[in-house]
């Protein structure tokens, strides 16, 4: 549009052209003026020549007439007259022809023209007189002829005089105006000079002004004033240059604005990063996200949805801009539903959409009878590496296209948020791990200490009796019992330490299975016989049912450990009650089931109890390190089997071990 002003691409050249043409016209005009002024001189000269010619011609006429006149003087008789007639007539003829020659020379002199015509008349009359023959009065004729000749002479003289006067006048005029061409030339030169100076100065001045404006502008721009706009004076090349300069400054300004914007955004992102880095828990992270969403992005709604632990559900963690009812409705929903958030989580791509398009894009939304607020929605995936953590959703009041900057900002925010959430989760885990470890340490120290105390007491009492000399009290039965007790305590300590060692082995991945072929029934019977004492101590019994025995290639010692662990647990939680042990087979799996009649386990604890340092009930109630189930699970996992629990609170619980039946050679 600005470009339309500059359709005249070479206006300076055009202007120069017009100047040149004006100068050319001026020169032509000057030449014409000079020609006109010299024309009058030329005409005067022409006239002078004409009059000169006329005078010489008329002098010749006069000669002819005079010679005719002289002839008449010589005439004495009529005979003479006849004799001379021929010469006389010849003279008259000459005069007449001269007269006709001189006629064109005197066009500008009416009186002379009149004279000439009179002369002509007189010559006519003269001829008549001469032709008059056979007349007695020839003398009178002669006289009349003389009279006519006289008239002619007179007229010629007068004509010559007038001509002379006219010539004098012409000459004096010529003389007077002899400097006229020079004057005209000088005047024209002066005019030309003034014209060229005025035009040139004005032209160069305009250009100079434009250029000085430009220079001023460059100064201002170099000092940082990007709002300065140079005024365009002429729509010529300088004008184009000025316009280009203005545009350049404009784009510079735009660039600077963008830069400022980018800096702003960076600062904002840095702020967000700082806020996120201070946010340790997920809740703090959510606070930061919501603050940014409402303050920086001017969103009217915001939601944070995270993938549940089992990856099958999405959990709405935080919702802004909607009722509590909505929050309750979507607190947890399957990931299979086709919602914007689920789609974003599944594909890991951001989604920017108008709410008008939502219904036909996402029919599930309509089914859930949920209506988004606002006109446009931005749904962004929270990802760490390739793992989807969840999604952020922002709703905006106006229907609009998001600029690249806004999208970038939102994505950056999302990235930061994902990292922060991830971090907070790790933080949570770490915190929990530390708590668990601390708890474990206290339990472990307590557990390790428990057998040590009676051991120490017994040893001290034996030592005291020996010192007091009352060693007689130490009967072999008593000593035997003492040693037996101590041995039990030491065994307990050993088993505790073995457990710890196992845990460290498992953690460091050093659990090695020594597999042999054996029958499960034999193995369990051995365990039961070894475990008779503790059962007796706990006043419990084991109801062992073998539905179908299985043999396989397993680590016998480790599986014994698993069975002992399960029995110990049963004894621990249901002392004095029957423990049901069942051996069976299902498809290609050997199954060992240990069922107690204890208090049972809540469903939400089914997973937890197999973790390290965990126990079914709180630590105050039951002793132990809480490692038994963990170690068992690790052993079974190493055998590619599975262990799980089935329980109803208050009606006991059964631990089921499934082992794949694999047979292998000793090698």
């Amino acid at each position: 549009m600005i470009e339309e002003f500059f359709t005249q691409t070479t206006s300076i050249i055009n202007r120069l052209k017009s100047v040149m043409s004006v100068i050319a016209i001026f020169i032509i005009f000057c030449a014409f003026a000079l020609y006109i002024s010299s024309m009058s001189t030329v005409k005067g000269l022409q006239e002078l020549k004409n009059s000169n010619d006329f005078i010489s011609l008329s002098t010749q006429i006069l000669d002819a007439v005079n010679s005719a006149d002289r002839m008449t003087d010589k005439v004495g008789s009529q005979r003479d007259l006849l004799k001379l007639n021929f010469a006389f007539v010849e003279n008259i003829k000459i005069a007449r022809s001269l007269l006709s020659q001189s006629a064109p020379l005197i066009k500008r002199h009416p009186t002379i023209i009149q004279h000439l015509s009179e002369i002509n008349d007189s010559i006519d009359k003269l001829e008549k007189v001469v032709q008059y023959e056979e007349n007695e009065d020839w003398k009178a004729n002669l006289m009349e002829g003389k009279q006519h000749i006289l008239d002619i002479r007179e007229l010629i003289s007068k004509s010559q005089m007038e001509m002379k006067e006219a010539t004098d006048l012409t000459f004096s005029t010529l003389y007077q105006h002899r400097f006229k061409p020079i004057t005209v030339g000088i005047t024209i030169s002066v005019l030309f000079f003034i014209f060229v100076m005025t035009f040139g100065v004005s032209l160069s001045r305009r250009i100079a002004i434009s250029i000085s404006h430009l220079l001023e502008a460059t100064d201002k721009v170099s000092q940082g004033d990007l709002n300065y706009e140079v005024q365009i004076l002429e729509h010529d090349e300088i004008g184009r240059l000025t316009n280009a300069f203005n545009r350049m400054v404009y784009h510079l300004k735009l660039g600077q604005d963008q830069l400022n914007h980018a800096v702003d955004r960076t600062v904002r992102l840095q702020g967000i990063t700082a806020s996120f880095s201070e946010a340790l828990t997920p809740d703090q992270v959510f606070d930061v996200v919501f603050k940014q969403a409402f303050e920086s992005l001017h969103a009217i709604t915001a939601s944070i949805i995270l993938v549940s632990e089992d990856k099958n559900f999405l959990e709405l963690k935080r919702l802004g801009g909607y009722d509590q009812k909505v929050f309750d409705q979507f607190k947890k929903f399957p990931i299979d539903l086709d919602f914007p958030s689920t789609r974003v989580v599944r594909f890991g791509q951001p989604l920017f959409i108008n709410t008008e398009d939502l219904d036909h894009e996402f029919p599930d939304l309509q089914k859930a009878s949920f209506q988004f607020k606002g006109k446009s929605i931005a749904c962004l995936p929270l990802t760490i590496g390739s793992e989807a953590l969840g999604a952020l959703t922002f709703g905006f009041e106006e229907n609009r296209e998001f600029t690249r900057e806004e999208k970038d900002f939102m994505l950056a925010l999302t990235r930061q948020c994902a990292q922060a959430i991830h971090r907070s989760m790790l933080y949570d885990d770490a915190k929990k791990a530390i708590e668990v470890r601390d708890e474990f340490l206290s339990i472990a120290s307590h557990e390790l200490r428990t057998p040590l105390t009676p051991l120490k007491l017994q040893l001290q009492s034996v030592a005291r009796q020996i010192r007091n000399g009352s060693s007689a009290n130490l009967t072999p039965e008593r000593l035997h019992k003492l040693i037996e007790t101590s041995d039990r305590q030491i065994n307990r300590l050993q088993s505790l330490i073995d457990d710890l060692l196992d845990v460290s082995r498992i953690t460091s991945g050093k659990l090695v299975l020594k597999k042999t072929n054996f029958h499960l029934k034999e193995m369990i019977e051995e365990v039961l016989s070894n475990y008779a004492q503790p059962l007796r101590d706990a006043n419990s019994s084991v109801d062992f049912i073998v539905e179908e025995d299985s043999s396989g290639h397993w680590d016998k010692v480790r599986l014994e450990q698993v069975v002992i662990n399960l029995l110990t647990n049963a004894l621990k939680y249901a002392p004095g009650k029957v423990i049901h042990l069942k051996l069976c087979r299902k498809k290609e799996k050997a199954i060992i089931e240990v069922r107690d009649e204890g208090p049972g386990i809540a469903e939400q604890d089914f997973e937890r109890i197999f973790a390290r340092y965990e126990r079914v009930v709180s630590k105050e109630n039951v002793g132990g390190l809480g490692l038994g189930l963990y170690i068992s699970k690790q052993i079974i996992d190493a055998h590619r089997g599975s262990i799980y629990v089935q329980s109803i609170l208050g009606s006991g619980s059964s631990f089921i071990v499934e082992l794949p039946l694999e047979k292998k050679n000793e090698s």
Binding site: D137, M143, E144, K146, Q147, L150, I156, K158, Q160
Partner: protein, 140 residues
Amino acid sequence: MKGLFTILFILFTSMSFGEEISIIVNEKNPLSNISADRLAHYYFKENRQWPNGQPVRFFDQKDESEVRKMFLDTVLKKTSREVELFWIGQKLYTGNRAPLQLGSDSMVASMVARFPGAVGYVSSTFTSAPGVKKIELKKD
């Protein structure tokens, strides 16, 4: 003394002959008299037209004739030499020429008869001729 005699002689001859001049014009000329002054103007070509517009043509007589002497005395009141000098001057400055000088009264009369605007002088003894008429010369 000799001069005095000459003057006396001239006076005598003029008186004794008692010759006078008559002015003749073409018969078509309506004029019946003319003043000497006007006649002199016509002679010297100071006025070249009759009152009716006809161009004036004056016919003079030869220097040596008595009539001319009379004419010079009575009308022009100049000597023959003065008149000659006058015409030389006129020839140079105006181109005017002296009127044609004729040899006799009869020639004058015949020329006057030929030119409508002609005027001439003859001796008073000259009897009239065809085509001309005498007009009275008014004296001041």
